[in-house]
Symmetry: C2
Subunit: 575 residues, 2 copies
């Protein structure tokens, strides 16, 4: 029975203690307070009614607690996935329609199903196609897009668009409709939240407030902004002045909902769902691994797929939308002392109570305040230093980052991230298409061979040793052939060519044919072809081919053996 | 002035001799005789009027003679490109309409333009994306498709379709319409041509006929079949019995034509044109290189792109359709003694005379005879032995071949070849995603380190040396991290981890971050992380990163240095 492998709850549930309970409970209270405004805000970003954000934090958290492996990860709506959701749904329905909300459920269901499928097939490694530069570029660009998308709420105007040029054009077109009261509220909320983030803690430190309280105050900042602006709107009746407010939010537990399964809807949402799954998974796993490493715990990526998949499927049946493990909420959960996934379950309970009891209180909450929370939160995602770092290290990584950022901003999130992946793969293939081939010689008094252009080494005019610095496969098979033949026609004294295979990790069928062609041509020219330092797995395969039988020279275990035998033979022939 | 680099004619033209002229002339006569039925047949395969095949052999040959670098390559319509043409044009127009012929010109123009573009940008290496298994699988499947597509002419019925199931279904549906006289003619022509190919030469050898004449007789086989069946149709008035014949072919030099440039047409033909260019280029270059190697001549792939591009653009303005360097015609040209591209120009003249004077003679030529020539020619392309060869060598190469064959047969040429390329790339990435990592030890009495599981080597329980057999990049960066950490937690005595980088040809930014993470984790665990045998280009890059500064251990030029220093240190610590 490997049941506990698929149900990690059986592991930690068995040893659940009183201390763990009280620690989890404290963490849950803190996280719940933080999540209420955040959930409303992200629902706004996704173009959904505010309660969808709260519903998306209840069932998913509980399901992740049962199936997930991270002890501190907090699952729910996050900024980037909300943006992706808005972009995907915008293509199939109008915001505010019933079709839009149903499409959100379908999107959550499809991405949950895809995650579970990947997990069951143990294909979690597919997420590695997203390289670090592509993720960094994508997150930065998404942060800029999200912040820009929220400007309309701060300005009190209508605007739309899924790319930066579209958003800016739409904002400019509606500049005449600015509601200055909304601007005042939004600007103050934004400024206040920035100050809470940057200035509050140092100030409290100077005032001698304990670090714990300072920390809590920082986290409660958004709640304070929500309370102050809500009361202001109510007291001054600002909603009558055109300030847009959250309005009626149903007072209920998450409803039972059914995603739409029309073939058209599924077809249009399948690719976005896959994209959302992969990006959500990558974000979630990196958060989970970072937190697990601090406590020497392990996260199983394939089980994480199942946990996140279950969470998304849960969201699709309870009025939510796609969710994933969020960075800020998980860090807060961890810092607040959560010990087990049970903390998540208590958070879910807290949010359920909020959904039933507190929703009337947010009636007068201005959208501008929610937009301000989002803007302040996502600007921390924007990190252009990755451009500088990759520029210094490798131009091809830089190209991948820059292309991902520009394409995400210019053509939207889906095109941006897909192009980023394709560009990274093509750049990698391009690099391997013209492998570095070093001509090597013996480092004196050792058995070690290095590049003749970088080290002082012994060489022999009758022997050319080429160290091929790349696996040989179809992309570079022809290049190798041309390179060796042109090197050999350069020097007329050459009697032996040794290919040093210490860095050749694979020889595919195309490369095998190239090696056979090289062998034939060198035989015609009276030159011996030898191979040295072939790795075990490569040799196993070559043994099954004709090459080994047809090779006009020898195969040596080490380059030093090849050198000793062939220089002796060359000397003997010269005498 | 590098003019002669772009106009190879200036090289060979300067030294053109009387002998070369007479050799070229003889080759041209032989090739012309062979090309007349072949050109008519391939036009039929492409769904175009027969004269298009002849026109496509005139201007293109001359333009290739000016811009191409191969001395023996013969450019014109070939089987696979004709099939691709039929498949592409079938999507935009009905066969026999004026739109179909104009689309053929546009296709030739687009593929010519794309080839010239690749050549000018020196991007010929892009053709390497087509691995040997994919090409072999694609050619075999195309041969089967082409032969099947010609069965309708042998049976005298109408049928259509671009995939094997479509073709077979269509043939079965029309079986009732079989014209038995056509079947008799077609079957006899096919049997005769097979016999000429397989049985005639041995027979003539036995009869003591000289090899040269036997060879010529073999090549003249199709011409004999054409003459005999044409005369039969004329004499017995078989066309009145429903035998389909070539009919009126205009008696003229290639006309001046203009490709269509409507945006819709260009959009639908662009992808097929790119595919045709790449496949035509790969076929052509491999023929050219094979022939050049026999005479120790060189073919410049980038200049070949320009030569073939010019040939296709020429075809588009002279009533032709996409062309490339053909295998059979080039081999005949070479065997007949062609010395320079001028042989091609004389062939073009011969065909021009044929187009003006001989076309009335093919009025009664039955389509079944042309179909027979095609069937016999393409069955030599079908080579399923590649399946067996790759199966024995590498399952992933086998998968690529098998997928290409099945998808080409089942879904058509375009899907087939595109999937083949994508599958090969994905299989390659998949292989590198879980690199082979060997734990190595010292081979006694040497300075050479090999896998502890394959060789008898010396090890030290306090030192783990891992030889990473793959370039480190985003696809495998996370895998490496997990692998090293799990190896280290296995043994509690470990004090040093040496990563031997002899087979690491690249460390990209994602892998750099992984190495930094590994270094941090090992530092936490009190384990030293050392690197050995880093290659020059990799070291150049690492020097620009933080890793070298932050590394808790040392960097060694050779693994032997690392071993000596660390075992001494370990011993010293033990004392």
């Amino acid at each position: 029975m490997k049941l506990h492998q698929y149900l990690p709850i059986l592991d930690w549930g068995r040893t659940y203690s009183r201390t763990a309970f009280s620690n989890d409970m404290i963490a849950a209270v803190i996280v719940t307070i933080m999540l209420i405004p955040q959930s409303l805000a992200y629902a706004l970003l996704a173009g959904l009614p505010p309660e969808a954000g709260i519903y998306a934090s209840i069932a998913p958290i509980i399901l992740y607690a049962i199936f997930g492996t991270s002890r501190a990860l907090a699952v729910g709506p996050v900024a980037v996935v909300s943006l992706l959701t808005a972009s995907a749904l915008g293509q199939v329905a109008e915001q505010g329609t019933a079709g839009y909300a149903v499409a959100a459920l379908t999107l959550a269901f499809l991405s949950g199903g895809f995650l579970v499928l990947l997990g069951v097939l143990r294909l979690g490694f597919l997420a590695n196609f997203l390289s670090h530069p592509v993720i960094a570029g994508f997150i930065t660009a998404s942060g800029i897009l999200i912040a820009t998308s929220q400007l309309k709420h701060i300005l009190g105007i209508s605007a739309h668009g899924h790319t930066l040029p579209e958003m800016l054009a739409s904002l400019f077109a509606h500049l005449g409709d600015i509601n200055w009261i909304t601007v005042a509220l939004g600007a103050m909320a934004t400024a206040f939240l920035f100050w809470v983030r940057k200035g509050l803690k140092p100030l409290m430190n100077r005032l001698g407030v304990s670090a714990k309280i300072a920390d809590f105050a920082t986290k409660a900042g958004p709640v304070a902004a929500v309370i102050v602006t809500t009361v202001s709107v109510w007291f001054f009746e600002l909603d009558a002045q055109g300030v847009r407010i959250v309005g009626d939010v149903p007072q209920s537990l998450p409803p039972l909902t059914l995603p739409g399964f029309s073939p058209d809807l599924i077809q249009s949402l399948l690719m976005p769902a896959i994209l959302i799954s992969v990006i959500g998974f990558v974000e979630s796993v990196s958060v989970a691994q970072t937190l697990a490493a601090k406590k020497r715990q392990r996260v199983d990526p394939n089980q994480e797929l199942i946990g996140l998949g279950a969470a998304n499927i849960g969201a699709s049946f309870t009025g939510g939308y796609p969710v994933t493990g969020g960075f800020s909420r998980s860090v807060v959960n961890y810092d607040a002392g959560a010990e087990t996934p049970a903390a998540g379950a208590y958070t879910a309970m807290g949010l359920a109570i909020a959904a039933m009891a507190l929703t009337p209180l947010v009636y007068f909450l201005p959208n501008a305040t929610l937009a301000a929370t989002i803007i302040v939160a996502v600007l921390s995602l924007v990190d252009v230093s990755i451009l500088k770092k990759t520029w210094g290290y490798s131009k091809s990584d830089f190209t991948a980052v820059a292309a991902t950022i520009l394409l995400t901003l210019g053509l939207g999130v889906e095109v941006g991230v897909a192009s980023g992946v394709i560009i990274s793969v093509l750049l990698h293939l391009f690099k391997t298409s013209r492998p570095h081939v070093a001509e090597v010689g013996l480092v004196p008094d050792t058995q070690h061979f290095r590049n003749i252009h970088r080290h002082t080494v012994e060489t022999d005019p009758k022997i050319v040793t080429l160290r091929v610095d790349e696996s040989l496969y179809f992309i570079n098979a022809r290049f190798l052939q041309e390179m060796i033949l042109s090197r050999v026609t350069d020097g007329c004294d050459i009697e032996h060519v040794i290919l040093m295979f210490s860095a050749v990790n694979e020889v595919d069928y195309s490369a095998l044919e190239s090696l056979e062609a090289i062998n034939l041509r060198l035989t015609d020219m009276g030159i011996g072809l030898h191979l040295s330092e072939i790795k075990g797995p490569v040799m196993d395969r070559l043994k099954r081919s004709h090459l080994i039988r047809d090779l006009n020279g020898q195969i040596f275990l080490s380059q030093n053996d090849a050198w000793t035998v062939l220089t002796d033979r060359v000397c003997a022939a010269a005498e």
